[in-house]
Structures are given as C-alpha cells and as structure tokens.
C-alpha cells in the first residue's frame, strides 16, 4: 500500500505524432494542496485526463488512491472540475447537483443536505432554481466546483477553477481550497494564476512538454529574494562571483538579476560589485515570487504550443 494519494511513473500520451505528455512522474501526499504549473500546451489537462481515466495513456502507469489509473472504485473518492465545465443546460443548479450526487451513488436526505450546503458555499443558493442556461461563465464554474465536492472527496482535481471568475469568485475559491486543506482534503490544482497558486498551494511542480522540470515547496523559501542589479563595468569575473551567490543569474548589459536564499546575501553582493571596481547604481531585493520562478524555470524562449 502506497502512502501517496496519487503517483504516476513515466506517464506518456501521444496524439498522432504530437507528444502531449512525454514522461510524467509525480507523487501527491495526503492532505497536500498541489499546484501543477506550466505554459499553455504543456500537457496539464492531458495529464489530468489520464489520471482520471478519461484518456488512455500511451505509456507509463500510475496509482490513484492506491488503485491503477482508470479504476472505477478509486473515482468514488475523487472530485473533478474539468477545464470547460459543461452540462445539459436545461437543468437547474440544484438538479445538476442531484444528478451528480446520484452518479456518486448518493441519494435521499444526505444528497439534499450536501447539495444545499455546497450551493451556499459557492454562493449559488439564490440561483439554484434557475436553469444553467441562464448562468454566467463564472456561475457555471462555481456550480461545477460544487458538483466536484459532493462526494466529500479525498482528492479534488481542479483544472483552472478560476479562469472565468471575477475577483470575488477567485477569493471564494481560494477560501474553499483553504477549507478543504483544513479538512484534510488534497487538491490538485491546474492554474495559470500564480498569485493564487502561491496563496493556496503547499507544493508546485513545473511541467514543460509533459515532463516535470522543477519542483518547488512553497513557504519553505520565504526568505528567498529576487535581486536586481544595475551597475556599470561588470567584469566577467564579477559575473562568475555573483552567479555563485545565488541561482538563475542573468546579465543584460548594465543590468543583472539573480535569486538568493536570504537578505544576508545582499551585503555580499554589494561588496563583490564595489570590490570589482564596477559602479553600483541600484541594488534591489524583492520577495521571490512564483512568477519570477516560473519565468526563470520555463525560460522566456519557451513559446506556447
């Protein structure tokens, strides 16, 4: 029995001659809020579909809640909000939840109570009697979110849950994810909104062409700083020194940037520059943001597709 909720080993998916997911290996611990980040076309949605048994992998294998991918029983304890949530739109919000609940094998008063609680939780109680036809994109997404939580899942997959939401809706989802974590529910989050990911996730991985290229534990690096330098006359030797003080060192003429593991590096950087004889005009340090890390990991040359 594995101690992971989800693990995949070398998962691969090929569409014709297009390799959407090259080699995906990851593991998710119970209770963890996990961010799955990557540029458009990195294979995030495809990976999710393979994990949920909607797509047959071309290679590799994995376990979801201890069962092989595609196992029907495992899905009873899993929730899923697809990237484009769609359902017959003549159903009302409430009917939607009732149908979903029955697909989970729920019924009776338990289903009714959970539906009402979730409708309230996603702020759709007022609209619950209206057909989905009249819902806005964000309302539909919130209805889908409620449907994904009906079975009180151990693990919820959310594929860009906030892409259609207004700031208030995003806040709602952020709170919801925090609540889920507090209850011990794990979340697998695909999102391009890095601020949101930063605020909710325990750990993120960056994928590129369906391969994990970087893993980052959030909160563990609070001291990290993104340092920006403007100095004239930086020698190659100085650049080597600076690069050794942190990671992701980049130089462009008089400007340079790098990421360091704490404030204590700043005087060292200043001293190195001054001692090398270069003229220091600017030295700026900001808390490391996920966005900077994303750009550093992905490289700016990476184009979508």
């Amino acid at each position: 029995m594995s101690s992971y909720l989800l693990e995949t080993h070398g998962l691969r998916k090929r569409f014709g001659d297009k390799l959407a997911v090259a080699d995906l290996s990851l593991a998710l611990r119970p209770g963890e809020v996990f961010g799955f980040l990557g540029p458009n076309g990195a294979g995030k949605t495809t990976s999710l579909k393979m994990i949920l048994g909607l797509l047959e992998p071309s290679g590799g294998h994995g376990l979801l809640l201890g069962k092989p991918l595609g196992d029907q029983g495992a899905r009873a304890k899993v929730g899923f909000l697809p990237e484009h949530f769609r359902f017959p739109d003549w159903l009302t919000g409430r009917e939607l939840l009732h149908f979903h609940g029955r697909l989970y094998g729920l019924g009776g008063s338990l289903l009714r109570e959970r539906s009402e609680a979730l409708l309230a939780r996603v702020d759709l109680l007022d609209a619950a009697h209206r057909p989905l036809k009249g819902y806005s994109k964000g309302m539909l997404q919130r209805a889908g979110l409620a449907a994904a939580l009906l079975n009180e899942p151990q693990l919820v997959f959310l594929d860009e849950p906030t892409s259609g939401l207004d700031p208030l809706g995003r806040l709602l989802v952020r709170d919801l994810i925090r609540d889920l974590r507090a209850q011990g529910t794990s979340v697998f989050l695909n999102s391009h909104l890095l601020g949101e990911v930063e605020a909710t996730c325990d750990r993120v991985v960056f994928v590129k062409q369906g391969r994990v290229v970087h893993e980052h534990v959030l909160g563990a690096h609070e001291a990290h700083r993104d340092v920006r330098i403007r100095a004239h006359g930086m020698s190659d030797a100085l650049c080597v020194t600076l690069a050794s003080l942190g990671e992701g060192f980049v130089r462009d003429g008089d400007r340079a940037s790098l990421r360091v593991d704490g404030d204590s590096r700043l005087p060292q950087i200043a001293a190195a520059i001054v001692n090398s004889g270069a003229a220091l005009f600017e030295l700026d340090a900001a808390p490391a943001s996920l966005e900077q890390l994303f750009l550093a990991v992905m490289g700016t040359e990476q184009r979508p597709g």
């Binding site: 048994g53 909607l54 697809p82 484009h84 359902f87 979903h100 029955r102 094998g105």
Partner: protein, 280 residues
C-alpha cells in the same frame, strides 16, 4: 451499484430526450399522421360502402391492406426516430465535454452506454406503440376492423426499431454525429432497396437479384423484419395471393429474427468496446 448507475443514466437520458425539440417534432408528425390516417380510412370506408358490399372478404382485404399501409408509415416514422433521436447522444456529449464529468464519476463506461441504449429503446418503443396503437385503434373504431397477428407483428417492428437504435448508438461511440446519421440511414436505405431488388428478382425469377436482396438484408435486417411483421398481420390467403406490396413472393425466414437479435448483441458489444477506450 451497476443497476442504480444504469438507471441514473436512463433517467438522465429520458429527461434529456423529453426536453429536446426533436422528440416533440416526432410526436407532432405522429399525431398529424394519425389524423391523416383517420381521414383516409373514412374515405376508404365510404368507397367500400359506395361500391356496395361485394362480400365481406373484399372489404376485409381492402381494410387489411389499408391498415398495413398505415403501419408501414408508422414503421418508417419509427425508423427515422430510432436513428435520429439517439444519433448524437454519445457523440454530442463527447464533443461538448459533458461526458468528461459523467465518466469521471465512479461509473463504468459500459453502464453509460447501456443506460443510454435502454433509454432510447424505451423512447422509440413507446413511440412505436403509440403510433401503431393509434392506427389499430382507428381501424377498430372507425371500421370495426381488427388486424390479425398484431402481437407478433408489433414485436417484430419493435425488434426492427431496436436494431436501428443500437446501430445509431453504436455509431455514436466512434463517429461524429453527422457521419453517424449518414451511415445509419445509408444502411437502412441499402436494406430498403435490397428488399425491392429481391422482390423484383422473385417475380422475374432472377436469382442474382434475389441474392443481392438477401445479402442486403443480412447487412441490415430492418426491412426483412418489417416484411416478416407484415406477413404475420394478414390472413394467409391474402399473403399467398401476393396481391399487395406487403405480401411478397418470398417471405423472410424466421431465421431473420435470430439474425437480428445477434445483430443487436454484436452492435452493442461493438459500442461497449468502442466507448470503453474512447478518449473523452
């Protein structure tokens, strides 16, 4: 778990079918047809009275033929609905992404297909019974005429509609909606023409033409099932005289029924298999 899952899908599908305009359209067409049939019956009766009752036998033949003609139209309307109502139930929901949410639930893909199939068999079967019942009732009320062999006849027509529902659903697991419709009607047309070729071949004694018809009815048994149904719904003397298009020289053998049942089973297996690995 499995039955309750299937029932949920059945209910969902019935719900969906009931909401669709196409079902309403079929029902409106059906009612218009029944009205027309009633009016026609009225004139046929008037004609019979006018010519004077030259024996009950002649009256019976005419009414039998006319009622069979009514059922033939019912057969056609049912075939249309059997193909068109379920034609996009899988392909449409695959394209829209609805099935992503359904298939990610703890439900077997098999049950999704079986639930949808069952729902449309129910819908199309009810449609058939409604229209055929209407025709028979009108014959009974207006002309006091009762068609023989109705039980067998309707059962065979129902079997035919199941063949087409299954074909339509099965195609939906692999084909897009439009392609699926084209293929299903193409096969039906093939069987239709094949059966006429067979009739002509029977009259002229052309063995090749008869073989073509037989092959067509094996590829798609729908028309043969109708002919068998019609055969049972007329008195033996009428079918032996080959007086009408519904009493052909060569009546399909009973083996056609077994063939059709096997055909349904195989199509269903193809559907289950096709959908089990279908990327959603």
């Amino acid at each position: 778990m499995t039955t309750s899952a299937i029932l949920t899908i059945v209910e969902m599908t019935l719900h969906e079918a009931a909401r669709r305009r196409i079902l309403l359209a079929s029902l409106v067409c059906g009612c218009a047809f029944l009205l027309l049939f009633g009016i026609g019956q009225h004139f046929v009766l008037a004609d019979i009275e006018h010519q004077g009752a030259k024996g009950m036998l002649r009256r019976g033949f005419i009414l039998n033929f006319f009622t069979l003609a009514g059922l033939y139209s019912v057969n056609f309307l049912t075939v249309m609905s059997a193909v068109l109502l379920p034609v996009d139930t899988l392909s449409g929901e695959i394209a829209s992404g609805v099935l992503q949410t359904v298939a990610s639930k703890p439900i077997a893909r098999r049950d999704i297909v079986l639930g949808k199939w069952l729902a449309y068999v129910l819908v199309v079967g009810s449609y058939l019974m409604l229209l055929a019942g209407g025709v028979l009732l009108e014959a009974r009320l207006l002309a006091d005429f009762q068609l023989p062999g109705v039980g067998r006849g309707l059962a065979l027509m129902f079997l035919e509609s199941i063949v087409l529902v299954t074909l339509s659903i099965s195609g939906g697991t692999r084909l897009s909606t439009v392609t699926n419709g084209v293929v299903a009607f193409g096969l039906y047309g093939l069987a239709f023409i094949g059966s006429w070729v067979e009739q002509v071949g029977g009259f002229t004694g052309n063995v090749g033409a008869r073989d073509v018809g037989t092959v067509a009815s094996l590829i798609m048994p729908s028309e043969s099932l109708w002919q068998l149904a019609a055969h049972h719904m007329q008195p033996p003397v009428m079918s032996q005289l080959n007086l009408t298009p519904f009493s052909p020289l060569s009546v399909p053998s009973i083996a056609m029924v077994y063939w059709a049942v096997g055909y349904i089973v195989v199509l269903l297996l193809v559907a289950l298999r096709g959908f089990s690995k279908r990327p959603l």
